[in-house]
Symmetry: C2
Subunit: 132 residues, 2 copies
Amino acid sequence: MLKLTRKVEYALISLRHMQGKSTDSISSTKEIANHYNIPVEILAKTLQHMAKENIIEAINGPRGGYRIKAKLNKINLVEFFEKVEGPLGLSDCFYDANCMQIEFCNIRTPIQRINNNMINMFRSMSVQDITN
Amino acid sequence: MLKLTRKVEYALISLRHMQGKSTDSISSTKEIANHYNIPVEILAKTLQHMAKENIIEAINGPRGGYRIKAKLNKINLVEFFEKVEGPLGLSDCFYDANCMQIEFCNIRTPIQRINNNMINMFRSMSVQDITN
DNA sequence: TTATATCCGATAATTTTAGTCGGATATATT
DNA sequence: AATATATCCGACTAAAATTATCGGATATAA
């Protein structure tokens, strides 16, 4: 409950790794996977996904890899989590109403308050707050 | 990602339900399950669990059921979540170090900061903030 | 005595998350 | 041009977590 997924963790690890190097230097999937003991194939997916979201940039071919493209201090953690994992919320009913309880639910409003607190907390932090 | 479990939701729904009645009145599993469209058996488990944690009190036999035992304004949400679901944390590594990455992990400290923010946020709210 | 309720361990089903495989495309180097 | 190394990407499988079910026990009010 209330956990980050590995995908998000791998994404953050990769960004921090890239940020530790000079701006134009390139990191390959294999390099990152080996360094942090992450399965290559799944890391590849994650990096491709971030590339599609314009967080990083892919360079094809041998000696290729990825480098940071976006301003990480301009991406807050809600944006980041949603780009990597999809919609965020303590309960599904805040973005997808398919719930058997919803008609009688007596806690939706109070939980939504907490949800807002959580969202605001994550929104107040940027990706760079983690990768720096 | 970052969701409450149904168990926690069922627990909160039940508490709010009980709190809406006079202090000594008893709510049976079946009554709550029917009212909120929750599977009886799993709700039974959840209520039994809360009884064991002394949040509610079980009354056996026919016309039995449960009623609130603890002071809900004295239980903060971290305590409550941990009583119902076990240890809380954005990543397992904050309470169970069995992680392939831990030796090389470059984001553990920053994520722990966020984790603390989240924990503090939940600690600042009581169960009663939801059930009232 | 009976009916109705909690109690509780074992197990099954479902959903989500994590990881694998196969083969395509792009490009630097030789 | 050939080759090696990298990304790209859909389909698939596996594992783990969550959710739900089953069977039968115990407690007690009526």
